[in-house]
Amino acid sequence: MTDRGAMRGFSDGRRTGAAGARATPFVDRNFKYLMIFPAVAVILFIGLFPVIHTLMISVQNLTMLDEDTSFHGLVHYGRLLSDGRFWEAIGHTLIFVVVALPTELVLGLALAYLFLDRLPGKQVFVALLVLPVVVSPVIAGATWRLLFDQRYGPINQVIGWFAGEDVTILWTVDPAFVYPAILIAEIWQWTPFMFLLLLAALSNVDQSQLEAAEIDGASFWRTFFKVVLPAIWPVMAIAVLIRALDLFRLFDVVWALTRGGPGTLTETFSIYAYVQGFQQFETSYTAAMSLVVIILLAITVTLVLRRMEIDR
């Protein structure tokens, strides 16, 4: 009430005061837009300018040796269509998304359930579980590389104890093990993120509904799907979306562990873009590549948001 009164007073003052005397009908009519214009302008500048700049670069021909800014049309986009390595990189990225995302979600949810009840030392365990998230991904990748190391790493040693003999698993070289190695590191680091968000969501599920379900004799899974899941869905959907986007730009862990190898077997889109853009200075081609991915991602995210019905 007070706020409304104050707003009204401000509005009246604007109309009748000294400043108001100078106010034009245009200002009066669009006052709310004028108020938010600076913020919108900043956001547009930060968000839109790089995209427009990237678009401009993508139709030029900037390379390591050539700073040709004349219009080259869609030549780089055409090259992209026939660039097998680019599409392979997209495919590798999708593998990481498809495997890591559900795994992190399920593990995060399971852990969150585990920590939902009162447990002795719960806060300490939660703090410890969250630690991987605060480690820089590149540091995490380098650490895992050491853990997987054949000569000094403990992982092969431990496996050797169980096997009863020395084992030689080249985690970062052998095609059979490179994906598991990267996924282990990735899932280790980001499952706690899921866990934390889902723990918060689960903590806010209406207890009375759970109790009612229990009284009605609903099974665990029925309660989960009919009561818990709808309640935590908005948070879970956002968590999945954030992680999916993170995974799509996966770089650090892969770079630290395999540098996209062997060959280009684990090369993600981000690594390919980095190699093209910052090692080989194919600036315009990389810009075209980035724009295509931005468009693909924007379409995907929009569809997913609609599907998840969390934009309402």
């Binding site: 054949q150 070289v173 095609p175």
Partner: protein, 481 residues
Amino acid sequence: MRRREFLYTASAFAGASALGLPRVARAQAAQTAVEAAKQFAGTEISIVWEAGLQALDPLNFSGPLWQEATGIRVNVIEVPTAEMFTKILQEHRAGTGAYDALNVIPAWMPDLVRAGALEPLDEYVDKYGYRQELQTIAPVYRDNQMMFDGKIYSFPDDGDVFILYYRTDILGDPEIQAAFREQHGYDLPVPPTTWKEFDEVGAFISAYTGNKPYGAAFFRDPPYGQFMFQERFRNEGGRFFDPETMKATINSAAGVKVFNDWLAENEWMPPGVQTWGFVENLAAFLQGDTAMTISWPPYGRWAAGYGTDEEALSWVPRSQIAGKVGYAMPPGGHPQLAAGFALSLSASSRKKEAAYLFMQWLNSEEISLKRVQLPTALRDPFRDSHFVSEEYMSRWPEAPQYLAALHEGAVKGLLDLSIIQTDRYEEALRQGISRLWAGEDPQAILDDVAAQWDQITERIGVDQQRAAYEAWASNAAAYPS
């Protein structure tokens, strides 16, 4: 002047030339730089340097010394090697003037010069009288890593070369020698001089000692392995391109042989050697786990225990093999002059004069001799005088043999491939090596690498690349003669 007086005077001059004057000249280049630089006292120059041990030279030694002498502060910008080229080119494109002097790998020079990132140095060299002293840089570095299109763009500053290190106590063991002779029908060569000998000796030692130690180990991690490939491929008679068509010939019989030999060697080398880089290989050799290896010069110093008590080298395993190491050319006799560093002036620098003078001073006979003896700094002898320095030769008992091997390497060494956008070719090769370790067929891999090289050449322009390749291949150190 009477005849006798003339002879006395001439003799005195000759003696002075032989004993004293070169030292005066050496002192002059460094001193000239110092005196000229005093006008810039109070300013700061920035120099890009490889991160890690390399940077300890300007951070702890040359930087403070220069500041004390001239009043110019040196800001050392440490950059990992893998990012140096990118950062230098990005800075040049941005034109910020953030970098004044640069450390560059000589193989990058064609790209950096074409991009306009490097400042020609001839004018400064003449102005500050440095041309004569540049001539005492070992010929292979001076003639191949200093100039481009007839202009000086960098001062070779690091005599990087791959040397064979071998355990004299193991290869010289009479029991091992007798058993080897019995099995192979010829005397165990100390050291092996061909790859066939090397493989037979290495495999024999692994088998005879029960892998304690292994016969040998190498860098196999692709970024290092590609240097090893370049060396061995050329020693086996390989050529990178057909000079007429510029079609890649890396998939020739020589290339396939190298890959097949590598796979065979892995059988008697330590498990997981495919992932070994500089540190893993170093640790194994210094701990006595391998009898032979090939690497850059610091291995030789650290194996002798030289300077390894310093805190900066605390990560280097204490050498178990001091006094038991021999130094020689790798099999084939032509070592790779792998990477190395040269000092260049950034074209976008706003303090070019001051930065140049620092470079001249660093690179001078007088100062460089001190720098190559810093145990932590990884700069290796690159001047004729370094190889015969009494001071250096007294550093550890085997130092004279070590320096002699480095000197021989500087005479017989092979240059890294250096054409337009070399890194793109090397990247394809690095990926090829990683595919080899992943179990793919050597011929198929190299055919694919060759196809990628051809695509890169097409994209750059066949004629343009042919000209660059011809210029590079015309160097005596491009291929074994």
